[in-house]
């Protein structure tokens, strides 16, 4: 009995197919060992109560997930990451785009600027955190502020603005977000600059011939052509900013109450602070899920934007 629609493969074709599978086998093996297995193992751990050392794990079903739903600190940390992301999406990317536009033009020393703008991203986050901690230091010595920012504010007779930047709940998270944006704008700058350089120069010339001014060219030529690049930059910004934590640790240590907690610092706290590996894995799964959904949503949105 033959199955309708199924073509019988010749020995030659089977050999060809087996050969192809053989070639992708190493990649599949590596992917399975380092991505698929850890994912299932993390999911498995998230269903257990385990301290990370003990030989026994207690199965607790979805209790960890239920607890996360009521964990106010966890959701607060999620909001903090969203706040940092929002500042990165606006301030950081606007800065990156403005600088990319400037460097796309025939300005003097543009190569030098490219190097300078790309410096912050290549610096270690720990080093950046420590430098900014010094800049934002609120200490005093012999009546003079120790931190650079407070020092300049004092010298500029703006004493009312002098404050305890990293120990004030109203400014600590914003300081972290600004430093994160300062450190991260170089990535966006490079990608956006590369995108700008792919735009056909004839489009600009045609627009100019039609009498379009600089703003009109930007609005009607540059921005529409850059939408796919914007989406890439936005997705990378969201993924990078939501997962920020090294900067947080190096700037405020274990945090100012819960005001500077972000999801990754909470996951670390669950693992090494309170030794709840199962709970940390459940947090990781929920966090990964949220990032995945937001990336898909952004992708869908960009497709709609392109169609519009």
């Amino acid at each position: 009995m033959s199955i309708v629609g199924v073509k019988k493969l010749s020995i030659e074709e089977i050999r060809d197919m087996v050969g192809s599978y053989f070639f992708i086998l190493p990649a599949v093996f590596i992917f399975s060992v380092f991505y698929i297995y850890p994912f299932f193992e993390i999911f498995n751990l998230s269903l257990h109560d385990w301290n990370g050392i003990s030989l026994t794990r207690q199965f607790i079903g979805l209790d960890n997930f239920a607890e996360i739903m009521q964990d106010k600190v966890w959701w607060m940390s999620m909001w903090h990451a969203a706040y940092i992301t929002l500042i990165a999406l606006t301030f950081q990317n606007a800065l990156a785009f403005a600088l990319a536009l400037a460097c796309d033009r025939d300005i003097r020393m543009r190569r030098f600027y490219r190097v300078v703008f790309y410096l912050p991203p290549v610096l270690s986050e720990v080093v950046v955190g420590l430098i900014w901690q010094w800049i934002l230091n609120s200490g005093m010595q012999n009546g003079e502020p120790v931190g650079l920012l407070n020092y300049f504010l004092t010298k500029a007779h703006l004493n009312h603005l002098v404050r305890d930047w990293l120990a004030d709940p109203q400014t600590a998270l914003t300081c972290i977000a600004v430093v994160h944006s300062w450190k991260g704008f170089g990535w966006g700058f490079i990608i956006l600059l590369a995108g700008l350089q792919t735009i056909d120069r004839q489009l600009y010339e045609a627009a100019r011939v039609d009498g379009a001014g600089s703003l009109s060219v930007l609005k009607n030529v540059t921005i529409p052509m850059m939408i796919p690049v914007f989406v890439v930059v936005m997705v990378l910004t969201i993924l990078g900013s939501m997962q920020v934590f090294v900067l947080v640790l190096s700037m405020v240590g274990q945090g100012l109450v819960y005001h500077t907690e972000v999801p990754v610092t909470r996951i670390i706290a669950s693992m090494t602070g309170t030794s709840r590996f199962g709970y940390a894995c459940a947090q990781g799964i929920i966090f990964g899920g949220i990032l995945l959904v937001s990336s898909f949503a952004l992708n869908k949105f960009s497709k709609k934007l392109k169609q519009g």
Binding site: I53, M140, G253, Q254, V257
Partner: protein
């Protein structure tokens, strides 16, 4: 040729994956103590010359990174021959339960317990599990203290004189008055690394012991006394007083201890709350600093002030190591008088060997004199749940920045305590 090379590379990688704890003439030690690395390396060279056994000290700092490395090594069974377990005793017990830590009791008992007797009892107790311990660990000694430490208050002698203070304060009221005098000459009062929550826990626990005594603190941990009890409110209120009287250095709740040490060493604050390891740190930052150590000023004058202390650094031997005997021999050598004198001299830390105490700096001897008043969570019969500790310390941070009142923090901590008690019952 290419195939042979590839095969050799693969073999190298695979053996690398499973290379820990195998038998060789090399002992590998993982530690986190940056300021002792040079001295350790020099001792290792000396040991190799004497015995032919190579000792590799591998430094992974700071301590939280080290802890994560140890946890990862446990999962993948690549622990070194000797390492340290940082954190609460429950975690230490889990390492023992998993077979990752060797029982050293018999080694300590040999030769009429000569090794045991040579070391400070308080330091050994941190590594000891008593009969009937709540973790159900077989009674015995599971670690070797390399040095001893305790955490006290430091005062800057010059700044105190400048503010007209003749002697360091002995009680809390005197302490507040001293800081008011210091503030008048533009000097900050107390600095400490309260961005690291364990330091807040340590400071608060000293005062909890002083205000209500050890038994009541333990009863709270057992769930028999609520955190809303008036004595606990007194503990929380202490932090409000410190804030209201402008006693604390600016930004104290976001400061890592390294920065707090810098502030004290550079004379930005007159008092510091820090451990005996600071002697080495301050010496490197400002060799001319004139300071002394004192117990935190008491609130309740009828009870002594107990401070955290005992073993500073303890090493354990990997229970699965093939080099167990060699590792134990090395630790015996490392804690012998000559090596301890060398370590105390080079690193300005208190030695764990009693006989090595002579010839230490004055400040260190002030620390040493308080060893009888030390206590530590590792030797308590009960330990508080880490989640409660986190809420407790974060609550204190909230009081210090003026965001919460003591009563509210007490209620919040109690709510988490009750949730943890329910979880334990389940």
């Amino acid at each position: 040729m290419k195939k042979t090379f590839l095969f050799a590379a693969l073999l190298f990688c695979l053996t690398g994956c499973f290379s820990s704890a195998k038998q060789s003439n090399t002992i590998t030690i993982w530690h986190w103590i940056t300021d002792r690395q040079d001295a350790f390396v020099r001792l290792a060279e000396q040991y190799e010359q004497q015995t032919g056994v190579k000792v590799k000290f591998e430094l992974y700092a700071p301590s939280d990174i080290y802890s994560r490395k140890i946890m990862a090594a446990v999962q993948s069974s690549v622990l070194p021959d000797i390492f340290g377990v940082l954190g609460e005793k429950k975690k230490f017990a889990s390492f023992i339960e998993g077979g990752f830590v060797a029982d050293l009791t018999e080694e300590f008992r040999q030769n009429d317990a000569a090794w045991e007797k040579s070391l400070f009892e308080k330091a050994l107790n941190v590594n000891r599990f008593e009969e009937g311990n709540i973790y159900q660990v077989k009674p015995g000694i599971y670690g070797v203290p390399i040095d001893v430490t305790n955490i006290q208050m430091l005062y800057n002698q010059d700044l105190l004189v400048k503010a007209g203070i003749k002697t360091p304060p002995t009680n809390f009221d005197e302490f507040l008055s001293a800081i008011a005098a210091l503030n008048r000459i533009g000097v900050d009062g107390l600095v400490s690394g309260w961005g690291e929550i364990w330091m807040i826990e340590c400071f608060a626990s000293n005062y909890a012991f002083n205000i209500m005594g050890e038994e009541k603190v333990m009863a709270t941990y057992r769930g028999e006394v609520p955190y809303t009890d008036e004595d606990w409110i007194k503990v929380f209120t202490l932090f409000k007083t410190l804030r209201d009287k402008k006693t604390l250095a600016l930004g104290i709740v976001a400061k890592g201890n390294k920065y707090a040490e810098q502030d004290f060493a550079l004379e930005r604050a007159a008092f510091a709350f820090n451990g005996s390891w600071c002697v080495n740190v301050y010496d490197k930052m400002n060799p001319g600093l004139k300071y002394g150590a004192m117990l935190p000023p008491r609130v309740n004058l009828e009870r002594p002030m107990q401070v955290w202390g005992g073993a500073g650094t303890s090493f354990v031997v990997n229970g699965m190591s093939e080099n167990k005997t060699m590792a134990i021999d090395f630790l015996k050598w490392l804690t012998a008088k000559e090596q301890q004198v060398f370590l105390a001299r080079e690193t300005k830390n208190l030695p764990s060997n009693r006989e090595a105490l002579a010839d230490i700096p004055t400040v260190l001897s002030q620390f040493a004199s308080a060893m009888d008043l030390t206590t530590h969570p590792s030797i308590w019969k009960y330990n508080e749940s880490p989640l409660v500790i986190e809420a407790f310390c974060k609550g204190i941070q909230a009081i210090v920045i003026g965001e919460a009142m003591p009563e509210r923090v007490a209620a919040d901590v109690q709510r988490i305590k009750e949730r943890e008690l329910q979880r334990e019952q389940r």
